[in-house]
Every structure is written in structure tokens, then in C-alpha cells.
Amino acid sequence: MSTVAPPRPAAAPPPSSPARPSAVRRLGGFLLRQWRRLTAMRTAIVLLFLLALAAIPGSLLPQRSLSQANVQQYFADHPTLAPVLDDLFLFDVFSSPWFAAVYLLLFVSLIGCVLPRALEHARALRTPPPPAPRRLTRLPDSARLDTTLPAGAALDAVEEELRVRRYRVVRRERGGVAELSAEKGLLKETGNLVFHLALVALLLGLAGGKLWGYEGSILVTEGDRFCNSFQQYDTYSAGALVDSGDLSPVCVGLEDFRAEYEENLTAASFTADITYGAPGEEGSPEVIGVNDPLRVDGDRVYVTGHGFSPRFTVTLPDGRTFADVSAPFLPVEQSTMSSEGALKLPDLGAGSDDQLALQGFFAPTGLVQDDILTSIDPRPLAPQVAVVAFQGYLGLDSGLPQSVYSLDQSQIERGRLTEVARGNLSVGESLDLPDGTTVTFDGYSEFAALQFSHDPGQVWVLGAAIAVLAGLLGMLLLRRERVFARADTDPATGGTVLDVGALTRGSGDGAPRFAALTDDLRAVLASRDPARADRAPSGSASSTGGTSA
């Protein structure tokens, strides 16, 4: 109910006297002022805002950490703007120096703010509640009760009421006037400290995971296996402190992959039967799927996607055959699993100009209309491919990296690689090339996109997140309440004037609880009133006395 926050001691001690400022002193003073400024709540709010603002470009511009391809596309679409943005780290916002600057400042501010509070809180836990303020009527909630009880007995009654409500109570005497201070809800402050310090722990966990973690992705065809080393992965990323020699020595094999679909062709589940074990071992059988990775000793294996690798047999004019050549085709549309890819055969003939490549489109359930193949079902019910055969020089050994999933377009433009035939093939059908080579579509294998991850910070982050939540609940739901009372003799009536005041910090409205407290007090005081003692003798005058905390 207090719209005005309770008075709080200033975060910093009063400024020191600037008697004869030497240069060192002045510098010290300057640093101290900056430090205080940094650790002020006001700064925290501004830094929180900056953090929110800084994150925005990371969601509006393509990020390398999410998709290299989107960033390249952006460069292609905005050739002048993109390099400028790139210089400002706008494609790597979350690992940019300025983003780091904001959150590091915020966390320095947080530590500078919270550590002193933690020390103060540790002290407060051991010290009794502070003396009552001079004017109790100034407190957000206050009341004055009159009683004929003597001052000490009146305060006894207050103390009993407060102890029942689980306050820590101290009795003092100042200037001959008896007073009482009571307090409860110190856990609220504990919650606040746990919350803020857990944020720091969370950040450290994240940082640790970034530095010592790695992940690699690979497409594995049914029946194949891979081992955990950076050379094997199609793509990988690793923290700065990862030594490639330290990777867990394990290999993963894909035995079988299954995709299941609902009637309306929504993907219902993906399941992969894998083997997992040290190199050279059989490996133990495991089943993983979407939402259900394999977690072993801090390593995890995920299925992140799947697709088809069409298989071909190539028969050269001289009769040599290459059976079961295949390459993974990447799905371009999840709902129908229509996929695109390229099969490169550089080592068929004698010379480097006799290379063969098939660029193609794979439809698990194909439908040909006007010679155009489309896929109408993600399940491989009637697989077909549309292939374009090229012959010539693939440019694989040119030193420039090229995608395994598509042909190097520049080789085609330069005329080094020329289209020689195209056609739509069902399983068993062949395409005849002008030079007498035949390409037969044999069927398909299924592949799974697997991801191997290692993040040593993950458990820390989870623990810190739970602590964040626990601290938050304590901080927001608990209340810290202080109640003060002073009992003075009323010279006019000879009775006692009992002033009671309360201060609440935290959620909710203190007034109803304070009203309940004063109501109870009135009742107790009345029941102990000596004037009515003959009518309703009160049991014990005072059972709990003394000053204890």
C-alpha cells in the first residue's frame, strides 16, 4: 500500500572530505565516483534497456550463428550495405564486442551493487532490528492505542502478538521510554541476493559452455557410421579452449531411420536406431528421436532432420559399371520432402574432362505433369528423380571449396561442364547419355541429420536458472515487515499511550495486516485492562519478557 518506497540507507557512505586533493586522490575520487555511478540502480535500468536494444538487430538481421546461408543471401541482396553492417558485427550480434560490453558492464554493476548488499545482509541476519524511529506516525501504517495498562505490560502484549506472527522482537529503553522493534521476512532480501548472484552464475555457465563446448553436424546414411572428430563433420563449431584431441572418443552408427506421418501428412515422429560406443567397438544400441536425444557423460546426439539419397548405377560405354553410387539430396520442402542434390563422379574415365555429374530433384512420391516432376507425399511411396546429366570438368581440384549438394555453376557458365541429357526416372529406369553411358535409378537410402554436442556448462546453467527462479519467488512473494511500538505514560490520564507503526517492503498491501494486528492488540489490551480485571480476570500478566532477538 505504500506508494512511496520505504526509506533505505544510501548505497554508499557519505563522500569523504576533499581537503587537499593530490593528483592520486583526485584520480581515486574520480574512480570512486564512476564506480558509484556504475553501481547505482539508475545505471542498472539504463544498462538493462541497452541490453534489450542491443539484442534487437540480432533478431532482425540474419545471423551467422543461425544460418550462414541467410547471411550470404543478404550479402548478395545488399552488396553495399552488407559489408558496412558486417564491420559493425551486425551479423554476429551475440558474439560482438559491443554486445559483450553491455552485458559485462551490467554484470559488473550488478556485482558492485549486490556484493555490498550481501555483506550488509549477512550482518543484518545477526543483528537485532533497528531502534524505532522517533515519530511512529510518519510510518506508512501507524496507530495510537490507549490503555490503562502500565507501559511495560502494554509492550508485553505487543510482543506476544508479534511473536505469534513470527517476528524477531527487541525491547529497548530510550530516554526513559520503553520501545519495541520487530522484524520479519529477511528471507526476501536473501531471495534478492540469490537471484542476482545466480544471474552471475548463469552467465559464467554460459561462458564456460561457449569456451569448452563444441558441436558437429553430419548426414549419415542408414548403415553408415561416423566418429567424433572435426574432420568427419559436415559443419562444426567449437569453443576457443577446445583442443581437437580432447573430443570424446566415440563413434555413432545409424542402423535404421523411420519417419511416421499423420493422415494429413503432418510429421508425427522421427526415430533413429543408432549404435553408440568407442571406436573399434560394436557400440550399444540406442533409439533417439525428435525431443528425445541420447545423453551420455555430457555428450549428446540428436536427430535434427532426415532425407533421401537416391542410388544410381552408372554403366560406361566400355562396360564398366559403378553400382550403388549415391549422394544425399537435401529436402527443400518438409511437407512433401521434395529434395535437391547433386551426385559428382570425378573418377570415371581417364581424363579430368571425362567427369560425370548428375544434378537432380528427388520426389519420394512423384507426380509428373507436363514433364515436370513434383512430390505429393513425404513418404517414399513412388520415388522418382528428375536428373540432368553433365559431362566435363567439375572443378573439384581447383582449390576453391564447393558445395557437395550442388554443382559449381561457374564451371557450367564457362562451358567446362555441359549438359548432355535429362529425364524423369522411376525406380529401375535409365537415362542414356549420347556417349553411350547409361544411368539407372536404383532406388534410395534414407539418411538422418545427426548432431553431436558437448556443452560442459549446461548443467551449471540449469542449476543457476533454478536458483534464479527460486530467488525470484522469494524476493517477489515474501514481505519484509518491521513493526515498532512505543509506550509512554499519558500525564493527563495516568494511563499509557501505545504508538504502533509498521513498514512493509514487498508485494501487497500492508494496511489490512496492520489493521488486523491493531484489532488484535486492542482486544488483548482490553482483556487485560485492570479496570475490568474483576469482571474478566486475565490469566497471566506477562509471560515473555526481556530483550532477546
Binding site: A44, F49, S65, T266, S269, N291, S453, A465, L476, A511
Partner: protein
């Protein structure tokens, strides 16, 4: 009933609840229009002391606000009743959807947004039942609710269907339910802050209480500020939990617990903005109007996250089902 009939019923209930909310809005409007003055918020302007002399505002107090004429009270009761029945039909929309599709009814944006609005209405009803003085907020909560519902029905509607594999996890229940709860509560909080901004300017200009303008009939700025803060305090741990649950789910579904996917980024931004609001509320120089602005920004971020990130940007979260 067959799934098709259930889906049809769900759609009918949707229109019905929009109708009921509209009627409730009209009734709340009547309550304000016919009221002479809003009940003076007792026990609120007492920061300086003397609160104990005033009777505390308590749930037992049946809303018999002294300055409300009986006809006004009647309108208020009719409005509350309509809104409550509206909320029940609204809940029916989701229940029948869930039965028709045999899953939790928050698998796409239509269902998610519908549930968020339901939470906002329920949050308001709970507040208004506990402190009858807040019924005067009804118009300002229900009017945006009607607008949101109409927009949801027009732009976000999709047929119910099964979930894609990645959404088939018990974390859907945990993560999305808490996200809906948090969002709905923030919705009410944001509205309270908007009203606070309007009302506090009116009060700062010396607010003529006999004015017939709507602001004169709103609860006092202090009440609005308190409602905004209390709801935000309630929503913040829920939102925190929703984000953590999302991270846990992402770890098993996508192979990393946090990847700055656009949805994650905006959830983070919203969280930071609400943390800033809670700080601002207790920091000298930020209390009052600046803090309220921060809360309004928080709500804007939440809405942006729902609409822009689902419909415009592409990310792992694009299950929205709106194309």
C-alpha cells in the same frame, strides 16, 4: 461428437464469446456513463499515514461503493456476469478445440493467442472480484479484448490439426501454458499502465472530478499503478519460468538450449524490459510515469513477439501455421 462437429462447435463458441464480451463492454460502458463519480479510492492516497483510520479495502467489502447509484451497480453486475459467461464460452472454445484435435489446444498461433486473451480476461475478473473498485476498469480491459478477439478470428484463424513432431513433447504443456499465463497477466498489467499514464496526467492537471470524461471515472492513478505493478510481479516469475522451460525443451528438440532464434531473442528482450520495469518501480527518478512507460514497452515487445516473429521472420519457432 465427431472431431468435425467439435471443431464447428469451437468456432461457434468463439463467435459467441466475442458477442458476450461485446455486450459486457457495452454494460461496462453504461456503468461508467451512468455513474456519477468513481468511488473515491479509499485507503490509497494515504501514503503519508493515517491509513489505519480508514476501513481497509477487503474482499468482504461487496463493492457497495457509496457513490454508485443502484442502477450503476446493476450495470456493473450485469457486465461482470456477461464477462464471466463470456470467459466460460471462451474456455469452451479451447476445450472443444482440444477435444477435436486430441491434444492441448495451443499448437498454433490462433490457439495460443486465444488462450492469452482468455488469461487476460480471467486475470481481470479475479482482480475485479477481489477489489470491486477495479470493476471500473472493465471497459478498458474488455474493449481491447474484443478487438484482439476479432483480429485473432480474422487474421490468425486456422483449422485444428495434429502437431508436428517437434511439438509432441510434454514440455509443450509446461512451456506454452506458462508463456500464455505470463502473457495474459502482462496484458492486464500493460493496460493498467496505459490507463495510469492517462489518469496521472489528468490528476496532475488538477483533475476535475465532476467532469463527464471517462478519465474522471477511472480508478485513481495510485490504484492503477499498484494494479500494474502487482500483476507484473505476478507475471514476471511465470515468464521467467516459461523462458527456462523453453530452454529446457529446446535442448532436447533442437540440440541447444539457447540459440538466439528470433523468438528466443524477443522472449529475452521482453524479460529484460520487465526486469527494468521492476527496477524502475523502486528507483528514485523512475517511479511513476517513466516506470509505467517501461511496462507499456514490455507489452509492446510481447505483442511484437507474437505477431512479427511468428508471421514475418523465419526461425525454428515458425510453427504458427499462418501462411
Amino acid at each position: 461428437m465427431t472431431p468435425d462437429q467439435l471443431s464447428g462447435l469451437s468456432d461457434t463458441l468463439f463467435s459467441t464469446s466475442v458477442g458476450l464480451y461485446s455486450l459486457a463492454t457495452v454494460a461496462f460502458c453504461a456503468q461508467l456513463a451512468f455513474g456519477r463519480r468513481p468511488a473515491r479510492e479509499r485507503a490509497l492516497v494515504t501514503a503519508g499515514g493515517g491509513a489505519a483510520e480508514l476501513p481497509p479495502e477487503s474482499p468482504a467489502d461487496p463493492g457497495a461503493l457509496p457513490e454508485d447509484a443502484p442502477s450503476v451497480r446493476r450495470w456493473g453486475r450485469v457486465a461482470m456476469l456477461l464477462a464471466t459467461v463470456g470467459a466460460l464460452t471462451h474456455a469452451g472454445v479451447l476445450v472443444t478445440r482440444g477435444m477435436a484435435t486430441d491434444r492441448l489446444p495451443w499448437g498454433n498461433m490462433y490457439e495460443f493467442a486465444t488462450a492469452v486473451v482468455l488469461v487476460a480476461v480471467v486475470a481481470f475478473l479475479v482482480l475485479a472480484l477481489r477489489s470491486p473498485g477495479l470493476r471500473h476498469l472493465g471497459l478498458f480491459v474488455l474493449a481491447p479484448v474484443v478487438v484482439s478477439m476479432v483480429a485473432i478470428g480474422l487474421f490468425l484463424y486456422v483449422e485444428g490439426g495434429p502437431l508436428v513432431a517437434a511439438l509432441r513433447s510434454s514440455w509443450l504443456a509446461v512451456h506454452v501454458s506458462t508463456a500464455i499465463l505470463g502473457f495474459g497477466v502482462f496484458f492486464v498489467s500493460g493496460i493498467a499502465s496505459v490507463l495510469y499514464l492517462v489518469r496521472s496526467r489528468y490528476e496532475a492537471r488538477g483533475g476535475d472530478p465532476s467532469s463527464s470524461r471517462l478519465v474522471a471515472r477511472m480508478p485513481s492513478a495510485a490504484t492503477l499503478d499498484r494494479v500494474a505493478h502487482r500483476t507484473a510481479v505476478f507475471g514476471f516469475p511465470i515468464w521467467t519460468f516459461a523462458v527456462i522451460a523453453g530452454a529446457i525443451w529446446a535442448e532436447s528438440a533442437w540440440g541447444r538450449f539457447w540459440g538466439w532464434d528470433p523468438k528466443e531473442t524477443w522472449a529475452f528482450i521482453a524479460w529484460v524490459v520487465y526486469a527494468a520495469y521492476l527496477h524502475a518501480r523502486t528507483t528514485a527518478g523512475w517511479r511513476g510515469r517513466p516506470a509505467a512507460w517501461v511496462n507499456v514497452v514490455g507489452l509492446a515487445v510481447m505483442v511484437f513477439n507474437l505477431l512479427y516473429v511468428n508471421m514475418v521472420s523465419t526461425g525454428l519457432h515458425s510453427y504458427g501455421g499462418v501462411n
